[in-house]
């Protein structure tokens, strides 16, 4: 009885996993196909869909290269990552080390920051940037994205800083180091895994971001997510072509994730969740 139930459960799970498998298969298969028939079967194989890598794609009446869009995306993702890492390595240390009454307050503050919805704040963010003159600029969106990720990132960094023994610091301070030097020369190298984790999250979040760039950047400045979405929305939907571009767009986060696997495992244990 138990056996039958178990196999039934496995069958059910396999069935439920099927859509994901099919969809990912589509992404890979379609990007190399001329056309798909019978659902997933390619009618012919081709590299045509990947032509966006070396030739301009149809856009409006003319054609445009994808590279400027990629550059924008990298600028946005890179900028967000650098800024976030910088800010949270500072704050994470402070929160972890320095004892003061407000520490509990800061922690609670982070907690609140974690749960107030990014969604509900989009309008507020739009107008904040507007009144600051940063609306429709890349620095503006970078700041917003960083602000949203800081609470969680501080949490992560705090965990890593916590793991460094006091003695190390005392030794350095006895030797005459100021806190800042101590932080930069001694501690930062020791929390590299934490930095890697924060950097990966920051990069992936910005790379994959759609709604913030869509609303807060002007239409002429495109990033990959917006480009693909606009292709879906206005042009004739050519699945193999879109699949190729989407696969191209999906690869960096996948690579990043695989490369930093070990660090992320520790982080997910820290209750780390992406959004």
């Amino acid at each position: 009885m138990g056996r039958v139930l178990r196999y039934l459960a496995y069958a059910a799970i396999a069935l439920m996993s099927l859509p994901i498998v099919i969809m990912v298969a589509f992404l890979v298969v379609a990007s190399f196909s001329t056309r798909l028939t019978m659902g997933l079967v390619p009618a012919g194989l081709t590299l045509e869909n990947w032509s966006f890598l070396w030739a301009p794609i149809p856009w409006g009446l003319g054609r445009e290269y994808v590279w400027p869009t990629l550059a924008n995306t990298l600028m946005y993702a890179g900028g967000s990552t650098v800024l976030r890492v910088l800010l949270v390595t500072l704050a994470g240390y402070a929160v972890s080390r320095i004892s003061f009454r407000g520490r509990l307050f800061v922690l609670a503050f982070q907690m609140v920051g974690r749960v107030v919805p990014g969604a509900g704040l989009l309008i507020g963010m739009y107008f904040t940037l507007y009144y600051l003159g940063l609306l429709f600029t890349i620095p503006g969106v970078v700041l917003i994205r960083t602000a949203m990720g800081i609470p969680m990132a501080i949490w992560i960094m705090k965990g890593f800083f916590d793991g460094i023994p006091w003695e190390l610091e005392w030794a350095a301070m006895v030797d005459g180091c100021s806190r800042l030097q101590l932080w930069r020369r001694v501690l930062l190298p020791l929390v590299r895994p934490g930095i890697a984790a924060v950097a990966v999250f920051a990069f992936m979040e910005a790379w994959e971001d759609f709604i913030y760039v869509y609303v807060l950047l002007p239409g002429e400045t495109k990033v990959m997510s917006v480009l693909i979405q606009r292709l879906i929305a206005t042009e004739v939907i050519d699945y193999p072509f879109l699949a190729a571009m989407s696969l191209f767009y999906t690869i960096p986060p996948l690579v990043f994730y695989v490369l930093t696997q070990k660090h992320l495992v520790r982080v997910t244990l820290v209750g780390g969740v992406k959004r």
């Binding site: 409006g60 507007y130 003159g133 609306l135 239409g219 002429e220 042009e235 004739v236 939907i237």
Partner: protein, 452 residues
């Protein structure tokens, strides 16, 4: 002593230089103007180039007359669509950096009431006999609000039904029969003719769909309401109107079309609509205007021959007896913003940018009807395909001017939402009418009159 004299010499030299520089740099006074021009889509780039040409022309006039003034005009042609363009404009406007000239904003009542644009009455009156006398009158109506003129009409996109003559020929109809069944002015026939032909085409397996329509709200909402016997605007009170019985007929018609498979249950995106029609997979499209063939030829592979032989257009015929055929005007004017520091110069630029020459350039590029009668006789427009723009100009005389009301955009969106709901089968036509009335009342308050 030596050093001091050296320093003194240097000082004198510097003083002389700084005194000379201003005089050397004096030339004609330069006025800088900026313009934002919308497409949407790549065809109407002449909106921007005409402005630049106008500025150059103005400069050469100034030079001829020895006037010490030059105009430097920077026209930005944007690829953004209507709403993102609006957003971009207002963000710039509120930051104090609005362009002097803008074309792409349509809600004249709101723009005028909030002081975003300036009235152009004096200019138009002053130069009426020189430039503005032969614009089609309906175009002037489209820029009128509260007794003032707020823009210079630049172009018009009269809405119409495009259909495939080649499909009809395959069904066995002769060209004469086609001309009789589908007269371009839509008179003497009803919407049923189109539906019947679409049905025949579909049953013969010649097309995938009978009719496609816009995937977004547009002035076709006005058309739908009118051909089903309703009104949308009350002249006396200046309020918008909903006629429930007409709306009910309209919703029922859409539902029936979807049920028969003649209209897709979900409006496809723009690219698909255009490519389907150009490829002949759809019999008729309600989503285009008389100028769309330029886009079809430039982007979707329609050939000039196909344009001439295989496509036909007509005004929207009435769907119920007693209603009249309808074409909408679809105008777009040049506007001058209140942040323009040299409105007189901007006005002169606009005048030259809407000269007969400029209008001809624009029509040749976009295949849209010429907006002034004098342009109709221009030698460059006497041969196909450009003669087409002269033929269609006659439509401007009978086209219905747009509804000028601050809540018109909202009205259109709400009605369109309900059309989509009915097509999707999520709401019945009867419920849709009730919901529509409720929501219009809630959102438009006292600006809507609801009649049965």
């Amino acid at each position: 002593m030596r050093r001091a004299s050296k320093v003194l010499a240097l000082a004198i030299a510097l003083a002389l230089l700084t005194a000379l520089v201003p005089t050397v740099a004096t030339g004609p006074r330069v006025v800088k103007l900026r313009a934002f021009c919308i497409g949407p889509g790549p065809m109407p780039v002449t909106r921007a180039t005409n402005l630049e040409d106008a500025a150059r022309l103005l400069n050469s006039i100034f030079e001829e007359l020895g006037i010490d003034l030059r105009v430097e005009l920077e026209a930005e042609f944007s690829e953004l669509k209507w709403k993102p363009f609006e957003e971009k404009f207002f963000a710039a406007y509120r930051a104090g950096r609005a362009p002097d000239i803008v074309i792409g904003l349509r809600n004249i009542p709101v723009l005028a009431d909030e002081g975003v644009i300036i009235p152009l009455d004096d200019h138009v009156k002053k130069f009426w006999n020189m430039n503005y006398f032969d614009f089609f009158l309906s175009l002037w109506k489209s820029v009128e609000w509260k007794g003032h003129i707020w823009g210079i009409p630049q172009d018009a996109t009269p809405g119409c039904i495009w259909y495939r003559k080649d499909v009809l020929r395959k069904l066995g109809y002769s060209d004469d029969e086609i001309a009789r069944m589908l007269p371009p002015d839509g008179r003497g026939i009803t919407l049923d003719t189109i539906v019947r032909l679409a049905r025949e085409a579909k049953e013969a397996g010649l097309v995938e769909y009978g009719i496609v329509h816009r995937p977004s709200p547009g002035d076709t909402i006005f058309i739908y309401m009118k051909i089903f016997g309703g009104e949308v605007y009350d002249e006396e009170t200046g309020k918008l109107v909903l006629v429930k019985s007409a709306a009910l007929r309209m919703f029922k018609w859409f539902k029936q079309m979807v049920d028969e498979g003649l209209i897709p249950g979900e409006p496809p995106p723009w690219g698909t609509i255009h490519s389907m029609f150009v490829e002949g997979r759809v019999f008729a499209t309600f989503a285009s205007h008389v100028g769309t063939p330029s886009e079809w030829m430039a982007k979707y592979g329609l050939t000039e021959e196909q344009f001439r032989n295989d496509l036909g257009f007509l005004a929207f015929p009435p769907a119920v007896p007693g209603a009249e055929p309808v074409t909408t005007l679809g105008p777009l004017p040049y506007l001058i913003t209140s942040q323009c520091k040299h409105p007189e110069i901007a006005e002169l630029v606009l005048m030259l940018a809407t000269s007969p020459e400029a209008v001809v350039k624009h029509s040749k590029r976009t295949l849209r009807p010429v907006t002034r009668r004098s342009a109709m006789h221009h030698p460059e427009l006497q041969e196909w395909p450009y003669s087409y723009t002269v033929e269609t100009a006659r439509l401007l005389e009978v086209a219905a001017p747009p509804i000028i009301h601050p809540a018109w955009g909202k009205y259109k969106s709400i009605v369109f939402e309900h059309i989509k709901g009915v097509e999707a089968g999520v709401i019945s036509p009867e419920d849709a009418v009730e919901e529509l009335a409720k929501i219009l009342k809630a959102e438009l308050g006292d600006q809507i009159i609801i009649r049965d």
